[in-house]
Point group: C2
Chain length 401, copies 2
């Protein structure tokens, strides 16, 4: 593979927030539509103006800045005292202790954590099991490292939801060395059941597979749902990295902070890689992690309740319009199936932006075959989100065959 081919597969123009770089889009079958005016909504990522950062994060940042050199130049894996606090709180949250010295690294966002984890476990020819659909960067990362993607289907629209464990076992038998997935799943919001997580543990241990589990959204758990932390299972695999971060639920995205914790030999490799990738998460920003997982009382519950209401009300609108959508058990994503349209799906997505001021992420970002799906991050102003959901229904109505 030439380096040109390698980068062909790393397109970013459809990635969330990058739509501004799309030029000369060829729109097919544009209709004159009469969509009511509404506030522009960018569903490609959460709106941190509607859901602002954890209260006081900027003061913690200033305190970090005031510390000067010791906060600017931390170890590559992050400042020790901050890691100590995080290790304790994350250990409690995930149900198993974490050694702050050897088992945790602070990264530039969860994206940084994923890059380091895959860069530390995947090289030329490594077979990597990837859920379809799942977070778009997983596939791109495997591709960049020279690995080989082994797709594992996820069911999410029926009654028997979950990853196909038979196909997963076959992949492990056939030499897959790494399994990376997100739970809650991005884009569907599915939380893997206790049974699914236990089966993954058993299989990964049996076949000696390294597991990288992205739990970015695990704190935004809706009422009545149960979350199983893979690392707390009795039979968790020996090589395991768990990834979390305060970018989403906590709206700290502007700081680029994430953490990875797990097997110390892998954390050690990740630090070596971090040393040549970007040295460390920005020093002053690391100080903001002091508020994470110990926010003001009631703050998280309130944030979850607000998101749950948006979820429920958009789902009502979509269900009424017969748009198939998985019910997210956690997180803030809706993954919605589009009916057959008179225009290409990619054109429809561009038209949503031009004619209804709505940005969504195409399903193809999450698996090549999901071109008839769109993903919405509903962490938005409530009224803007509801109005935009209604406009999406009107647009689909106009353009459907």
């Amino acid at each position: 593979m030439t380096i040109e081919e390698k980068f062909m597969a790393l397109g970013v123009k459809n990635a969330p927030g990058q739509e501004v770089r799309q030029k000369n889009i060829d729109l097919k079958n544009v209709l004159t539509v009469d969509i009511p005016e509404g506030k522009a909504v960018d569903f490609s990522h959460g709106d941190v103006d509607a859901f602002p950062p954890i209260p006081g994060s900027e003061d913690l940042w200033s305190d970090g800045f005031s510390l000067g050199g010791c906060q600017a130049y931390t170890e590559y894996r992050g400042a020790l005292d901050i890691r100590q606090g995080l290790a304790e709180r994350l250990g409690l949250f995930t149900g198993k202790p974490i050694n702050a010295d050897s088992e945790l690294i602070i990264t530039p966002g969860t994206q940084g954590a994923l890059f380091l984890a895959l860069g530390s476990t995947v090289s030329n020819g490594t077979k990597v099991a990837i859920i379809e659909p799942d977070y778009f960067a997983n596939r791109k990362l495997v591709h960049f490292m020279g690995g080989e993607i082994v797709p594992i289907p996820l069911s999410f629209l029926g009654n028997q939801n979950g990853p196909d464990l038979n196909i997963l076992e076959k992949a492990f038998k056939d030499g897959t060395k790494v399994f990376v997935f997100s739970t809650p799943n991005n884009p569907t919001g599915q939380v893997y059941s206790r049974e699914a997580i236990n089966s993954i543990c058993v299989l990964a241990s049996k076949y000696d597979v390294t597991v990288i589990v992205d739990q970015l959204y695990s704190r935004m758990l809706f009422s009545g749902e149960e979350y199983t932390h893979l690392r707390s299972c009795n039979n968790a695999p020996e090589n395991l990295i768990t990834i979390m971060g305060p970018s989403k639920t906590e709206s700290l995205s502007g700081y680029r902070l994430g953490v990875a914790f797990g097997t110390s030999t892998l954390i050690d490799r990740m630090e070596r890689l971090q040393a040549i990738v970007s040295l460390r998460a920005a020093g002053y920003n690391q100080a903001v992690l002091r508020t994470w997982l110990q926010e003001p009382e009631g703050w998280l519950e309130d944030r979850i309740a607000q998101h749950e209401k948006i979820r429920d009300d958009i789902l009502k609108i979509f269900n009424k319009a017969n748009l198939k959508t998985a019910t997210p058990q956690a997180g803030s994503y809706l993954f919605t199936e589009l009916p057959p349209l008179i225009t290409e799906y990619s054109s429809f997505i561009a038209l949503l932006r031009q004619q209804a001021q709505i940005t969504v992420t195409p399903g193809t970002e999450f698996a090549p075959s999901y071109d008839n799906f769109i993903r919405l991050n509903f962490s938005q102003d409530y009224h803007a989100a509801i109005s935009a959901a209604q406009r999406i229904v009107l647009m689909i109505d106009k353009y459907k065959i």
Copy 2:
């Protein structure tokens, strides 16, 4: 090469700031020394408490934070309005215009820029010319990407200083595709002459070699010195990336900010890679770049003068003790040759820390053969630096054969 072997070569325990992770060092021939007490000095990186960030940087950060979502979620290549200001000022500084839309990317530090530049040009088997000595991460990056290092010697202690252009041409003839180097050179502080830069341009154009030039320290230019920007030469190569950043001279290291500018196809690849590495330089931090290259009047001149005085006075101490040291023409590094010692050089460096409270970086970080050299970043409090330089001389005196 297995992934274990790949990571063996990416050790970080000798990297600047990582000394805290060195455990169980086997010290050979420890003497009882009588070194006068002195303030601990960490010469492995600059002291941002002694030389604080550009005045007002934290206010610019707060302004960025107040902007909310649009500053948190910029394009992966950075916020357009910030890129526009940077492109104008960097174009003036380097002597050639830069297109803000297509030719510039904001990165998480210059380390991030180097990673993206090499990741975008080096893959399995790519031959990469590397200066010896030069910034340690260059070699590690080539190694991680699966490239092959072609070493090019740099003379720096005599009268005929500069890269060996004959060996460079031979390397280009023999299929080297990428040439990466720093000017001013890290660790020697050598500024490549106009003649050397012109020759590099001619050779790179003739053999179609991509050039990545790290100009991180080019603003800290001492009196009487002249700096040649490669990109402003008439015969600059078609594929060229210039890297700069406000981490050093400007002490903005705690923000992790850098920039790369040059050939748009390469900048485009770098953005694709950034999308899977860490998305973007932390959004709020990008706002601090608004002050860069337009600092308060006299600020830069004053900072240069203060560093020049430290350079001159340490050089006097080292010269008097017959320690061979290149005179840095720019930047804040001193690269000093140690005489034969009764202990291993690595042990001596550990002893400097234990017995004289002085941290330096071993020469082996800059090329395998430079084990008898140490690098000092002299961007330190003046009195602490002078006292520490005197203690280094005393320690060498004790331990020399």
